[in-house]
């Protein structure tokens, strides 16, 4: 899987591409927590997430909680169907800030 970060409109857009599984979720966690440490607003572009397991979801939860503590923005944008099904299984779609598109996430 790939993690692609780019600056946009004062925020960092982090695109997760491929399968976020046990093997890759530690690097996703590290990447997101470093951004949280720097108090950066983050929009996670999940358009191309083909699969995300519970450890990947846990990384998003931890980063989201850190953002709430910081008072910074953390939005999951354009969540793919496979990822949304996993979020819905644990009712996390009611917890995360979600946006239909990256643009909507940036202006949230």
């Amino acid at each position: 899987m790939k993690i692609e970060s780019r600056e946009r409109d004062g925020a960092v857009v982090v695109a997760l591409v491929g399968e976020v599984d046990l093997q890759h979720s530690p690097s996703v966690r590290k990447h997101l927590m470093e951004l949280m440490f720097d108090r950066r607003p983050v929009v996670v572009d999940m358009t191309a997430v083909e699969y995300i397991d519970s450890s990947g979801i846990a990384s998003l939860v931890e980063a989201y909680q850190a953002a709430r503590k910081n008072g910074t923005r953390f939005v999951l944008a354009a969540v793919s169907q496979p990822a949304m099904r996993v979020l819905q299984l644990a009712r996390l779609d009611k917890v995360f800030a979600l946006a239909d598109t990256v643009e909507a996430g940036l202006s949230a």
């Binding site: 599984d21 979720s25 966690r29 519970s54 450890s55 979801i57 846990a58 931890e62 299984l89 644990a90």
Partner: protein
Amino acid sequence: MSNAPPSIEVINLDTHYGDRQVLKNVSLSVNPGEIFVIMGGSGSGKTTLLNHLLGLLRPTSGTIRILGKDINTLSSLEMQDLRTRMGVAFQSGALFSSMSVGDNIALPLREHTDLDEMTIGIVTRLKLEVVSLAGFEHLMPAELSGGMIKRAAFARAIVMDPKLLFCDEPSAGLDPVVASSIDDLILRLRDAMGMSIVVVTHDLDSTFKIADRICVLDKGEVLALDTVDAIRNSPNERIQNLLNRRTEEAEVDPDAYLRRLLGEKEKHANQPTQGRTGL
């Protein structure tokens, strides 16, 4: 279903306990994302078949492929690796009584991954949310009801996000409402995670609610393997007896019966005649 290779393939499986043949020429396959129910009366061989699928027993002959691997040719290390992609919710729950519910559920992650404790904690509590046991991680298994133990066992079985989930009598001993909630959980897990799920049960209501296909075992043989509707409408008398909870009187072989009463050995390796068969 898709054209992906089957999650499970069983080909001509024969197995014996001593001289007694318990499974006879069993063949079946389970597709990715399928809920496959193995049903049959007591003594039909369904638990033995499950134990073979889990790699806990060696067959007399036949082939079992799990997630593409022939489990009878795997080294113990390879088998262990395969098991990390399988989850099992045992009938009794099989929780460690000396560990809290949370530690029971976290155990596979601590044993088989390098995830940090924060992630393990979140995943554990996530799974407790999924099985509607949120906030119960600090309780001990002895403090849970039967339905809660089943749900905790499910949480542990899915904590590694397995590709293949086995459930042994998931609704046994539960009241109908709790049993139905376990069925709903099985359906949600399949739909959200796309896992293949094998359920061993004799609960007809549960079977008809969750199954994509049903394998009916009878006296160690596959009596039928088909969709729910096909099984419901089967003209086979033995299947209808199972579905309608009618008992069958086994035919009496006077010679064999007398030998059993007198404690003499069977002349052939036939399976012993069962007194009654039913659900």
